[in-house]
Structure formats: C-alpha cells, structure tokens
C-alpha cells in the first residue's frame, strides 16, 4: 500500500508543474477599443441573466466576448450555459414549457419561435428593437424576421445567426478529375460528381451527407431534398405524402446517395462529423448549412481552405428550401426584462458583428442575418469566395413556401408544428436503417408513410 501511494504521489508530483504552468497562463484577454457605444445604452440596468445557448462556434465566440458586454453594462451579471444542440434543446424546452424561469434568455430557432409566442412563453422583442434607431431593425433580412415572428406579426426572437444550405466541394479534386461545378447544380449533377469522386479504397468519399437520426440532423437536408424534388411531408389535409411519387423519389435519392457515394459513418454523422470529414480532406463534397462557410474559409480552422469551393444550393424541380436561424428569445417569466433586452440587443447588433471581426476574425462572425454584414468591406474580402453566394441563397428562401404544392404547416426543412420532433426522429431513425443497409428504401418508405399518418391522427391533425 505504501509503495503504491508513493507511486501515485510521484505521478502527481510530476504532474504538478504542468498544472502550475497552466495556472500561470492568462486567459484569452480581449483587446480594448470597443466600437462606439450607442447613445441609447443605459448602463445602469442591473440584473442577473441566465442564458442557455447552443454550443455552436458563433455562441462560443460570444462567450469569449462576454467581458465586453460586462464593460458596457457593469451591473448585469451574465451566466452563460453552453451545451450541445440535443441537450440544450431538451433543457430549454423543459424550462420554457414548465415556465420555471430558470433561464432569462434562450437560443431557439424558427421551429419554436412561433409556438412559444402563441403560448405566451416568450416576450415580444420586435417592438422594443424596432424602437431603437441604432439597432437598425430594417437591416435584418425580412425572411428571418417573418420566420421568427408570432401570429401577430411581431418578432419574438432576435436572430443571432442565420443560414440556408449550399454545397461545399474540393476544387482540387474536381480539377484533377476534369469536372466543373456548374453555377446552379442539380441534384443529378451532384450525384454524378459524387460517383466519379468516390474512391473508398483511398479513403476518399464522394459526398458527406447527414445520416444521424434526428429531425434537426438528418431531417434537415433530407427534407430540403424532398422539397427540391417537388415533394412534401403532408398534403393540405395532413395526409402523409412520404410515399407519393416525388417524395419517395427524393427519399430514395437521398438514401442511395449516402449509401453508395457517401461517408461510411453516415448513420452517426451529423453536422459536426461531416464538417470534420471535410476538413480532414476525406470527402469531395458536403451539402449542409451555409453557416459552415465562414469556418471553411478560415485557413486556421480548415487546412483545405484554399481548395474549398462553394456552390449554390442544388435544385431539381425547385430549390432545396432551407432556412434557419438561431435566435435569442426572452422567457416571459424573466425577472430581469430590461437586462435581458439589453443583452439580446447587444448580441444581435451591428456593433457586435464588428466586435467579433476585430477580436476574433471574420471567421467567427454571426452571419446570415444582417444585410450590413454582407456589405461590409472586411467581410466581403474575407468571404470573397462565398459571401455573395450565401447572400443570394438566403434571399431566395421563402419561408412561407417550402414545396411545389400547398402544405398546412410552416417551415422549409422541417414541419413547423411542435409535435413534429417525434415524427422527425422516428422517420430519420428508420431511414438510418436504410443507409446502414439493413432495410430497403421501399420497405422503409412504406413504414414511414404509415408512421406519418398515425402521427397525424394521434395529434389531431388528420
């Protein structure tokens, strides 16, 4: 026993210097020079804010810049809780729907915004934000505003960063194979490219697509492909359309594409995993959210940055509709309304974008929300290969029209009713089974069609 204890102590003694060395290191210190504080700032606002945020790079950047907020509002104490998407969603949903008020500000998206507003769980932020001339409310893309508004037309969550979808591809691999990416590729084009560039024996895969079960993981690109092929989840009477010709074709297309020319780890690959694969140079193409563009263009974060090409959202019959924003909502139960509003205003302001650019570089900027970002010379320079493209994609999205035919719900790459989570999760799990090769897509399509109909009946839609 003594000998063992000595051994452990020896190990600890060796590790001690390491921990002491770390202790000496200072944390990342923000540089001075905050952009001019707007005259509408009331620095006497006080309160303690609990903020729950999804752990995306833009929020992590915000966490790093929190001291800047404290400088402007010394009397507001910020508690930022940052968690991965699944967990933070569960957490926020629990708190908001039980109105427990553990959080004052939460990050939600278009999926939740209108519902929370309808239930009276979130506060109208549009009115106070519009009232502040320095905020430049008109600068925000109208599509973002309308998708985050309640039925009364007021904004209930201030968009922090926004995205649509696009294709990222390896220019060098394309060149070597003698391929050219057209300005507006179709999904058939993409499939052709993927086939030619799929060399699994050398560890290169044609395309990376999300296969991880989840309405917000596999569900998003899958639904956008269904949109593109002219399909839809439900018709106006909430009858499932998943087995309809166009939707079924789209679903088959997606699962075949991933299975045949995609990454082998597809069933456990979400946004993060595909991003990693692309950065590691293992995939020739990647179809996903435009917000990844900022990161992929940064040579510090993406060794393949110089070789990364950006292409328009693929179309078939129509475009692959996709619109999303992570936005800050203020819980109705908050006891610090002014402070919450001050925070939301600060985080979604033009000044904040500049702040990030100055302190952390354009690669960490929350883009996709304000026109001014895309007009900024600095961002234009940084994003010369993608910024205009992303802008045109986002502006082409119509949040009220996902599909060729009419649908009884809102949302482009999801079905915008709260109960959809269950159906989306179930369907994507089933399709993951197809991708894994355990089931044929025909069988699965029949199954998910039944699932969708039972779900609709169950929840009173049919």
């Amino acid at each position: 026993m003594r000998r063992k204890a000595l051994a452990v102590l020896a190990v600890l003694a060796l590790l001690m210097p390491m921990f002491l060395a770390i202790g000496g290191m200072s944390a990342v210190r923000a540089q001075d020079a905050s952009p001019g504080a707007s005259p509408a700032v009331d620095t006497s606002i006080s309160g303690e804010l609990n903020v729950a945020m999804v752990a995306n790079p833009q929020m992590v950047a915000l966490q790093k810049l929190a001291p800047e907020f404290q400088k402007i509002y010394p009397n507001i104490k910020l508690n930022l809780l940052v968690l991965p998407e699944n967990e933070v969603r569960d957490r926020i949903r629990t708190d908001v729907s039980t109105q427990a008020g553990q959080f004052d500000v939460v990050t939600i998206g278009m999926f939740e915004a209108a519902d929370y507003a309808k239930q009276g769980w979130s506060l109208d932020v549009g009115t106070p934000l519009q009232a502040d001339p320095n905020y430049d409310y008109q600068d925000i893309f109208p599509a973002m505003v309308s998708a985050l508004s309640g039925d009364d037309g007021k904004l209930y969550a201030a968009p922090f960063y926004g995205e649509s979808s696009m294709v990222f591809y390896r220019k060098d691999l394309f060149q070597a194979a003698g391929l050219t990416m057209p300005d507006k590729p179709t999904w058939d084009d993409i499939q052709g490219f993927a086939q030619k560039l799929h060399k699994p024996d050398s560890g290169q895969y044609g395309i990376c697509l999300r296969g991880l079960p989840g309405w917000g993981e596999q569900g998003a690109p899958l639904t956008s492909v269904i949109n593109a092929f002219g399909g839809r989840w439900f018709d106006e009477n909430w009858k499932s359309q998943l087995a309809s010709d166009k939707s079924a074709k789209a679903i088959k297309f997606y699962t075949d594409l991933v299975k045949n020319y995609g990454e082998p780890s597809a069933t456990t690959s979400g946004f993060t995993e595909c991003e990693n694969l692309f950065i590691q140079g293992k995939v020739a193409m990647w179809y996903d959210a435009t917000s990844a563009a900022d990161l992929l263009a940064d040579p510090k974060q993406n060794p393949q940055a110089a070789n990364t090409g950006f292409a328009y959202q693929p179309t078939e019959e129509i475009g692959s509709g996709w619109l999303w924003a992570w936005a800050f909502a203020i819980e109705a139960k908050t006891k610090h309304q002014d402070a919450a509003l001050a925070f939301v205003k600060w985080a979604t302001s033009k000044d904040y974008v500049n702040l990030v650019a100055n302190q952390l570089g354009w690669g960490s900027v929350p883009s996709g929300v304000r026109a001014s970002t895309y007009a900024d010379a600095g961002y234009k320079e940084y994003g010369k290969s993608f910024a205009d493209l992303v802008l045109s994609i986002i502006q082409a999205q119509d949040p009220t029209k996902c599909c060729v035919d009419a649908v009884p719900y809102k949302g482009l790459q999801f079905v915008g009713v709260p109960e959809f989570v269950t159906l989306g999760d179930q369907v994507t799990k089933e399709l993951a089974n197809v991708i894994a090769g355990n089931e044929s897509s025909d069988d699965a399509i029949k199954k998910i069609d039944d699932m969708a109909n039972s779900w609709a009946k169950d929840n009173g839609y049919q």
Partner: protein, 318 residues
C-alpha cells in the same frame, strides 16, 4: 460443521435475504425509519405525479390539448406500440448480454490478478479504470476514437492486418449497433464485476486450497471445485447490482446511435427519454416509465427467487 442451512444461506448471501434469527423487535424500525422516510419522500412523491400524468394525453408544448384519458396510454403501450416492443426486446438483450459477459470477463480479470506477478498492482489498476471513466466521455471515446470507420483505432488495426486488397472496414455503429452498445457496456461494467469477484476470491481459505493441491488437484480442478462454488454468492451480488444499473444505461446510446438505426439500439429507458423529453409527451412517457417499473419489479422478483434457489442448491451438497 453442523450449522443450519438457513444460517449458511443467510450469512453468505448478499442476495437471498434470510436472516440470522427471527427476533422481530421494534428497535429496528426506528433505525430504518430515516432512510425509509427519505426514500419515500424523494422518490414516491415524484412517482405519484408520474402516475397522475400517465393518465393524461399531455404534450408539454401543446398544453391546450391536455386531456384525461384514463388507461388509454397503457392500453396503447401494451397493444399498439411497436417501438415499445422493440425497446423491450432490446432492453432484455442488452441487459442479459452485458451482465453475463461482464460477469464472465470480470471473472477472467479477477483470476488474472489473483496471482502474484511483477506489476500485478498496475495491471489491476488498468483493469479497473473503465469503470471509473465518465460514461459520456467513454462513449464519445468509443464512437470517435475506436469505432469510427475513418479515424478509429479498431478499423485502423483491421485494415493494417488485412492482406493486400482486403477492404473489410466495418461500420460498427451502423452494421453492428447492438453489439457495439454491448461492447461499451461490458467495457464499463466488467471491472465492477472484477472488484466484487476478486473480493470473493481473496476470502477463500488458503488452507482449503492447499489441501486440494496436496490431494493432487490441477489448477483447473481447483478453480472449478473450490473457487467457483465459493464465488456463487458474489456472482449473484454482481448479477443483481449489475442488472439494476445496466437496465437503465442510456448514455452510450444517447452519445452514439440516438437509438438507431431503426430501433435497433432503442431500449426502454431511451424510449422513455425520446417520448417524454424529446417528444414532450409527458403523459405517454410517464406511462412507459410506470410499465418499466412494473416489468422490472416482476423481473427482479423472478431473478431473486432464481438466484436464491441456485444458491441453496449450491450449498445443498455440503
């Protein structure tokens, strides 16, 4: 050594609750009371709530549709719910496989370190470590560093030893998802079993062993004739505790497959999570939870009785 059979069974079992004497006094009640009251208040109050919710159709996000439906949720679970059936089968499979394999592996580990050799302490330390690692961290490690078809160590090894153009590059979590989950479970729980079994091994009387050796027993005979019988009660303790814990394990599933592909890795606790939390269907989730409790009570009672009988029969001979 003429001692009453009940005494032996009672004294040596952590499992079959038999007691030394039947002196039912009142003092015992007072000693148990604090723990009992605490447990009742903290667990039963929420449980009653859960029972209450289970009689409602209640989606937290659509409170206006909340409706009392009596036993409808239960009826649905028991008749219509295909996913419940899959989850039930998976729970049984995972638990059964993980408990048995962990026990056997734990036995193997314990026997390995029950002999003196250089560095025995270090090896025992290494064998214990998986149990100490946070399940979430372990699961992520397995998913990304071990089982990933592109970056994982296991696949690298497989590719490295394949001759020439062989290209078997299994995607563990897609093609063998259940096995992968069981592997993660066993990796975590075998050390736990090892601790318990090692304890049992080290309480074996050396005299008995020596006697056997003098009698000419081979190491294998010694193991089967002396070690194993003595270990039965420890194995039962391990099986019981292991089952209680492993039934509820979801961290691995949550971090890797999200219950998929299909419903291949959805077990009952994960199904409850999917329903009650992801899907906000508190009523239905509560009902599933209650059904799980009832089923586990039944299963545990059977298990206890089975182990009890096995224990008695193992002592019947002497």
């Amino acid at each position: 050594m003429a001692v009453a059979k009940e005494d032996i069974a009672g004294a040596h079992s952590g499992v079959a609750p038999v007691t030394h004497a039947h002196e039912y006094g009142s003092i015992g009640r007072w000693l148990v009371a604090p723990a009992l009251i605490f447990a009742i208040v903290v667990t039963q109050v929420p449980f009653v709530y859960t029972l209450y919710y289970s009689t409602f159709r209640y989606n937290l996000l659509r409170p206006e549709r909340r409706k009392f439906v009596g036993l409808e949720n239960y009826r649905r679970i028991l008749t219509d719910d295909v996913v419940f059936r899959d989850a039930l089968v998976n729970t049984f499979l995972f638990t059964f496989a993980a408990v048995i394999i962990s026990l056997l592996l734990g036995l193997f580990y314990a026997e390995l370190v029950n002999h003196r050799f250089p560095g025995r302490g270090i090896v025992r330390t290494m064998l214990i470590t998986p149990f100490l690692v946070m399940p979430v961290a372990g699961a992520l490690g397995w998913k990304n560093m071990m089982m990933d078809p592109d970056f994982g160590v296991i696949n690298w090894l497989i590719r490295a030893v394949q001759p020439g153009s062989g290209s078997w590059n299994p995607v563990w979590l897609a093609h063998y998802p259940r096995q992968s989950i069981v592997i993660m479970l066993v990796w975590r729980w075998a050390p736990f079993m090892m601790l318990i079994l090692l304890a049992g091994m080290q309480s074996i009387d050396e005299e008995v062993r020596e006697a056997a050796r003098v009698d000419g027993a081979s190491p294998v005979q010694e193991f089967i004739g002396i070690t194993l019988p003595h270990l039965y009660r420890f194995m039962q303790l391990g099986a019981l505790l292991g089952t209680v814990y492993i039934v509820q394990e979801v961290d691995q599933i949550f971090m890797t497959t999200q219950g998929g592909p299909g419903t291949l890795t959805t077990n009952l606790p994960y199904y409850v999570y999917e329903t009650a939390i992801r899907g906000s269907q508190v009523g239905r989730g509560a009902a599933i939870g209650v059904v799980v409790v009832i089923l586990t009570i039944i299963a545990m009672t059977v298990l206890l009785r089975l182990l009890d009988r096995m224990l008695r029969s193992s002592y019947a001979g002497g």
